[in-house]
């Protein structure tokens, strides 16, 4: 087993990985940019090293600096997390060169499967059904537009190196082509350092269902079942669940076999996700492989009772997958919502800033994977994912009720979050019935907003009382952005305290 692991990431996933390492008795090394000195992953790690300024191209994407840190600190393995360099074959190559184990697939498997066009070619060879489209990156805009016209609109432009909806554009008609091409390419360049884009026919109203696979270095490859991630806002997953409300045991077996076939064909090792689009008749089409751990891996963990990060580490260390896992079936139901620092009332604008106060939900069936804390300033330089709130239960109904309960308990003051979006999704009758597809959320958001639930009788009076109390305890230092009232006693506060005491038995 490894002695020390470099975590080449930040935020909640860096925290998730270092927790697994700690449980395994492995030392952790974190890296951070100028704006992440006070971030949770740095605070929790055994060692942490500065790797550059805030822009990720000068810090978290610098392989040379990461290798320096790994060598200097005596690491024997590197975990890339997701995003940043997780799907860049240059990182596993650099690791091999430096004598480090990369916790993930080999550079060759990443190239054979991770890039969208290569993955599609491999899928065709492995007899996994695919969506019609180009299997090569298209070199220039004119050639691409001609192809799009042949295929018939709507079409989808996707970054070769992409993921997470970046560098992706739906083109509804010919007139919109040129602008969309330019945006997709420049977004891809900024996010991944690779502007190449390819074209795909755009299916109307499909579900997004993906299979989690795991492959060891001894030739065993297994499926850990599906996750449904159809609730997306502009191609970005927002809610994920396992199992899917529509997948039957028969379909699960067929999709699992297809995914495993693909993994074997690509010589894949470690954790990977094979994404499919599923149409109304439950036909499935290969979409792409994510050659890394997924953001939404916790829902699979909750229904399989496995720790996927520990499993990744064990496989990278050469351990074998047990035979029994070839017939793993999900137990119960799990669902995850992605809480972002963004304002749903203002076009989902990012809302960085200081978290002045925070109350996190707990209790049965609730898990919170996050990299935030009270008093931390959410930097404006990275993806604004704050927390992943995960609930599980015996049924989908119980799971949804738990998530709603947990969201009611969850309070963050100081920055805006998208909590209200989830209140809306989780009470929507279509969502509750499982009638969702990849365009569903965009359609819901285009509808007039349902009337807000009026506050309970008495809310306004309670708020007035709170305002008066808080004012009287904090008026001496009414400075903006301050963390709260000082402890200087006021008559009101003393009064409140005394009453509280009086009421105790």
């Amino acid at each position: 087993m490894f002695k020390k692991i470099l975590i080449a990431n930040r935020g909640e996933i860096a925290v998730r990985i270092l927790r697994a390492c700690r449980e395994l008795g492995i030392q952790t090394v974190a890296v951070y940019s100028d704006v992440d000195r006070a971030s949770l992953h740095v605070r929790l790690a055994d060692e942490a090293y500065h790797i550059g300024p805030a822009p990720s191209r000068e810090s978290y994407l610098r392989i040379d600096k990461l290798m320096d840190v790994a060598k200097k600190s005596g690491c024997d393995a590197v975990h890339p997390g997701y995003g940043f360099l997780a799907e860049n074959p240059a990182l596993p190559r650099a690791c091999v060169h430096a004598g480090l184990t990369f916790i993930g697939p080999s550079a060759e498997a990443m190239e054979a499967m991770g890039s969208k066009t290569a993955g599609k070619q491999l899928a065709r060879r492995a007899e996994v059904p695919t969506v019609p489209g180009t299997s090569e990156p298209v070199e220039n805009s004119e050639e691409a537009q001609a192809l799009a016209q042949n295929m018939g609109y709507p079409i989808l432009l996707k970054a070769i190196a992409g993921g997470g909806g970046k560098g992706m554009r739906v083109v509804p008609n010919d007139a919109a082509f040129a602008g969309a091409w330019r945006d997709a390419a420049s977004e891809a360049m900024n996010a991944f350092g690779d502007p190449r884009v390819f074209i795909e026919k755009y299916l109307v109203g499909p579900r997004h269902i993906e299979i989690q696979i795991f492959a060891d270095v001894h030739g065993r490859c297994v499926s850990l079942g599906e996750r449904e991630c159809s609730v997306q806002r502009r191609h970005q997953k927002v809610v994920e669940e396992a199992p899917s409300p529509v997948v039957t045991p028969e379909l699960r077996r067929k999709m699992g076999e297809a995914a495993v076939r693909l993994g074997r064909a690509g010589g894949y090792t470690n954790a990977g996700t094979v994404e499919f689009l599923v149409d109304a008749d439950l036909n499935f089409y290969f979409l792409e492989v994510n050659a890394r751990l997924q953001v939404e891996h916790p829902v699979t963990e909750q229904v399989t009772n496995l720790d996927l990060v520990k499993l990744q580490i064990a496989i990278a260390a050469g351990h074998r997958l047990p035979f029994a896992w070839e017939t793993i079936t999900p137990r119960g139901h799990a669902m995850e919502v992605r809480l972002y620092a963004e304002d749903p009332d203002n076009n989902f604008f990012p809302s960085p800033g200081k978290i002045i106060s925070r109350h996190a939900p707990t209790g049965p069936g609730i898990r919170l994977d996050e990299g935030v804390y009270e008093g931390w300033t959410v930097p404006m330089d990275y993806d604004p994912l704050l927390s992943k709130l995960i609930a599980w239960g015996n049924s989908r109904e119980e799971t949804i009720a738990r998530l709603r309960r947990a969201l009611d308990e969850y309070t963050i003051m100081g920055i805006r979050t998208n909590v209200s979006l989830f209140r809306r999704i989780l009470t929507d009758p279509e969502f509750v019935r499982g009638e969702i597809h990849t365009k569903w959320l965009d359609e819901v958001l285009a509808r007039p907003r349902p009337p807000a639930v009026p506050p309970l009788q008495g809310t306004e009076q309670a708020v007035l009382i709170a305002a008066a109390l808080w004012h009287s305890t904090s008026s001496d230092h009414a400075s903006p952005g301050s963390a709260g009232p000082q402890s200087s006693p006021s008559r009101w506060k003393m009064e409140g305290r005394r009453q509280h005491m009086d009421h105790k038995p």
């Binding site: 960085p352 109350h359 003051m413 309970l456 709170a466 903006p480 952005g481 963390a483």
Partner: protein
Amino acid sequence: MKFEIELSGPDGKKKHGLEFERKADASSVTIDGKAMNADAVQVSPNAISVLLEGQSFEIHLTRSIDGKIKLRCGPHEFSAEVIDPRAWRGRKHGAMEVEGRQEIVAPMPGKVVRLLVAAGDAVGAGQGLLVVEAMKMQNEIRSPKNGRVERMIAKEGQAVNAGEVLAWVE
């Protein structure tokens, strides 16, 4: 103790009168002339638990940039401006005069795009000192008082974090 509170919330904006008193074994509060049994306890620096006629409410509070109190109760948001009886003496309503050297701090992370004044300049209360761009919005940071710019710490083009000191006004 008496308070006058201007509250904005889901039902619009309205002024309320609130009076708090303590009786033998229960506390009562009078809101807009109506007496109610109430108990309020500060449970954390930014949260107050209110029991109103037995009903339990949890209110989360922060100070907003304009000095008002932002409150949240479940999904509902409110903004309150409290006119404190203690603050009444001799103060002009709405325009509090601040004394002494004031630190001008960035209200949110962003980038300084323009300086409007330089060290040594005389400034009036409410006059723009500099412009900070955050999330593609330009925000003018204003002087809280009449005085003189003692130091201009921020530089054009500089990235600033929330709470970072930009200038001193004396």
